[in-house]
Symmetry: D2
Subunit: 355 residues, 4 copies
């Protein structure tokens, strides 16, 4: 059994990790920490865990740190800036670290410090961190000590673009015009479990809005993913605009691409099907189908539909995921499975909840 700890278990990614890891046949959650709820049972905060977990939140003091160092893996379900302060002590003790916040997502120190407005606590470790998108970095993950679990939006964007960029890499002509518009929509749980008037039920229900118009932290992460994939002279400009949907879970990214004449000659449905044929969690829907977010609710599945309209030179990629699962905790468990040499789908096979 893998001994796991979850630092910061009172947020939505925290409880989702508890839910997933409690059902994982090869993992034991041995420590759960929370600054604000130290001493409280997890199932007092989340009665849904009654009968599922007996864990009690610990404070993240020195004693706890020493306990953490005896775990095999520590998940940080904390705000940005926490994991990087603990990472050195843990990795030196041989503990693998999976940070669900942003401390190890951006490989560029400058980008991190620009977008997160704080110095990085361990720039050297950052260089060794692996961006935890298994469909992109499966090999590196196998030996990773520190994993930066991707942001929710970038997961949909990068996986929605990967087959296209890889197809482009193999062509002398441009297939897709340079400008990529990613119009993305997220359920409210993506904003976290926090007290905020703006997140109050009566403020968000029966309502829809955009945010982050002039720059969202997930944009550099999307650009980094594209850059990693790109092996071509044909670069791209990404327009990323997130919106808030009155739903609990779910993320929907509408990716608008313009086909060149050469691009119109490609059968993009086939490209996607080939690209993801061996991926357990990526479902390329049949031609003409539409994904909806509920079809992946509470599941680690990410669904993609490819709509090609040569008459209008349009290629539209629609991507859905559960922002808390494939967009956060599920992906973290998938990463853990890879890091520990387990079957990648272990503990992640549950069917989506519909209706």
């Amino acid at each position: 059994m893998i001994s796991a700890a979850i630092v910061g278990g009172t947020g939505y990614t925290g409880i989702e990790l508890i839910r997933l890891l409690s059902a994982h046949p090869e993992v034991s959650i041995d420590l759960l920490t929370s600054r604000s709820e130290a001493g409280t049972r997890a199932d007092e905060i989340f009665p849904s865990l009654r009968g599922i977990s007996d864990l009690v939140f610990s404070d993240l003091g020195n004693e706890t740190l020493s306990t953490l160092q005896q775990c095999d893996v520590v998940f940080f379900a904390t705000p940005h800036g926490v994991a990087m302060k603990q990472a050195e002590a843990l990795t030196q003790a041989g503990v693998k670290v999976i940070d669900l916040a942003a401390d190890f997502r951006l490989q560029s120190l400058a980008d991190f410090e620009h977008w997160y407005q704080q110095p990085h606590a361990c720039p050297d470790l950052l260089k060794t961190a692996v961006y935890g998108l298994p469909e992109l970095n499966r090999d590196k993950l196998a030996n990773a000590l520190i994993v930066g679990n991707p942001g929710c939006y970038p997961t949909t964007a990068i996986l929605g673009l990967k087959p296209i960029i890889e197809a482009q890499n193999q062509q002398a002509n441009r297939l897709i015009e340079a400008r990529i518009v990613i119009d993305a929509k997220s359920g409210v749980s993506g904003a976290g479990r926090q007290a905020s008037i703006a997140l109050n039920y009566a403020e968000t229900t029966d309502n829809f809005k955009a945010y982050g118009v002039t720059g969202h932290r997930h944009l550099p992460e999307i650009e980094q993913g594209i850059a990693q994939l790109l092996n071509s002279q044909f670069t791209h400009r990404v327009r990323f605009l997130p919106h808030l949907v009155p739903m609990i879970r779910g993320m929907f990214s509408s990716i608008h691409l313009e086909l060149t004449d050469a691009g119109q000659g490609v059968d993009w449905q086939q490209v996607f099907e080939n690209s993801y044929a061996s991926e357990a969690f990526i479902d390329v829907m049949p031609r003409g189908m539409y994904p909806d977010t509920r079809s992946v609710r509470a599941s680690n599945r990410l669904r993609i539909a490819v709509h090609q309209d040569n008459e209008r030179a349009e290629l539209t990629i629609l991507v859905v995921q559960d922002n808390l699962v494939k967009g956060a905790a599920g992906q973290a468990v998938q990463n853990m499975n890879v890091m520990f040499g387990l079957n990648e789908t272990l503990g992640l096979n549950a069917a989506p909840i519909v209706p």
Copy 2:
């Protein structure tokens, strides 16, 4: 024109008052105060007011108080305990006060102090305050200086029981068994516009729960209303249980009564229709119809359905209102209309919003 002020305009009853009074043909809102948002335009906080209101929030300092004293009426859309501290200075200046919080609802000082856990700031004024349910106290309201605007639940409970208690008053036999179960449900806006994890969208949506099982502050207010109506040896025991419904606005009270043999001989539909025949805002639905909360959304209407089942000795009264209108701001405006001798429906005729 009546010069009105709203103290505490940043909550849901506050913005609802602004919405209603802005459309009132005989009222001018001359002052709007907020401790937290002083200096900010109301339409910055609530962009829905753009083009509707140019008001800027003032702080409630000495200068403001002096301005308040020049108004004709001051609405307090504040937490409990604020209005009672200002009431004396205002009423001495001849300003009428309508408190949408609880400071002037309970006529018993002991009850107030027990349920609200604070001493009352002006017990003498409390004696002169009128409970602002026009259908109960229309005559007293005409000359009231201070009005305690009813709680949302008590409005549905008292108006749902009034015809029954009045019918009982005229009978020598018991018509209804002593125990009255009021199972009530409220939309989330009833909890106010506040930052609270428990009110977060992802906590309240797709969810239903009870609260206040062992005692809700609206119970003594319901009991007070019944006591005022009661003129009979046949007293009642009220069980009041509130629940939280994942909807923005709306309140639904299911009142469960048991008919005696004598009570089965009464045509309760007729009793209700007669009782409310002249009330502009109370709609007794035809036999067999069901009210739903959306049918009064954004309106001052309160709808009642009377379901009598002699076979099972059941009398069920279903009452709906918009908790922010008839349950708060609309009722306050209705009270103001009565207090100033205006047509009671002035500014309150808008149709409900459906869908």
Copy 3:
């Protein structure tokens, strides 16, 4: 492996059965039928099943019947009146039948015909059917050929009252006054997957209403459950009123009881804890806690809170379940586990989905 069939797989209980049985380690779904969708893959109707199930809907013709007869168990997730027409052919072939509709719930033929307005197709078989509430009828279920899976409301009502009635059975004095008010609330999925204006999103969202005021089919089922438990001179009168909550899943029953003096001497929390100590799916919450429906979302758990207020002679039992799981498909699987001698919790251990 148990060979199972689902007749009528396109409704919400149907897809929930597919979801649960697909993850059940001892079951293989070998047949899925639908009149309206014959020939269509289940995952075309429900894309959430893509990668989970390859099943194709069959029509329920003669050929299918012969295939059904080779199964070990057939679940009917059909409208009322379908299962009773097939039950004889199946049970004669030794196939166990679990009907999620009402054909085998009411043991009284007269009650069935009164409430469902149709003659019963197999009155003799009805006598042998077991009411599928394992917490009530576990022993009988072990040998049952036909199981009438309980209605959703009755499950909450009967399990919310069972410890009380059993306690009463052992006392010479009345503990609880005769009148029991069950004010129940259900999510919209309880109305089924059907095309209906009344169930349209824009009709049900941000709305709350009661229905079935003058008689709901689940009332005789609740009364039957109470009658089965009752072994005392102290009978009860049940008032049952259902409401529709704008949420997908979830059921909440507020049971209002009045304590006699003797009843006030009982520690009801303890009574419930003792009564359900060995039940895997029934969670009696600690004193003072409140259940909410999301705490059991997508789980077979039923949660109960006991609130006793001697000062007001009130005993309030709050019961939550997922109407599609413990209220339907989960309970059916639990019944199947009992009927086939499996561990009762097999395939039903998944944690609730929160948020």
Copy 4:
């Protein structure tokens, strides 16, 4: 008083027309028709109208037609294809016609027949019809006999692009690259009041999806609006993708534009403010603000935010409206006001409903 009739009053645009016209000081609704509900009072179908309207639905037979011919204006809140069959008889009688469906939106007969898959019943009248977007066609509307009330999406798209195209018309250089991406989102009421599994609450709540990927009927209407505005060599290619949001009312269009170097030199906020300075219903929000759909709920206001990011050459226009008001019934009333020479805002001044 203007004598008005509403043909097809049982849909959402129908009830919204009843709501708005009932409060209009210069209009009397003299006839209401419905095929399916003939003989029924409107307030039986929509109890929210109890006390607001006494109207009874008539069938649309010959007798009714003759009554319609005595009205001043007839609103068609019917499916596509109904108004064009009645238009000739009405206009010959001097009755003005406002069709809320699509019969008179597209001026090109070929476009109409291609997108709506039916021959047009009165091609000659079509040539005289005016596209009822007052901000575009105010002058023509003053003398119009037949008005095609715009689709909801085109209203947001055309008004969101109008200032840009008009600015472009006056420039020798391209300001905006040719490709315009309109990623639009609508509340569920936009799909109409119909019985459909896909619109069932449990199918649409907590869910998000795209539709019409390969061609939506509102696209040619958007293109027609752009073409009307365009007076420049610089044409545009529009990508229009609609989505369904789990909310009742509200429409949000995110318009993604790419600025040329010349376009970066323009202050687009100022362009929009100037362009709409005299429009009563169009609110250009201050720099940096975000619109949300609830800020226009139940109101005829359309709100626009202009976000210009020269660093990334992005111009993002965010447009919100209530799809049933400015997107349908409110715009129809606004058109009527213009057609009858009334103050354009008459009956349309109510504040949005927030929360």
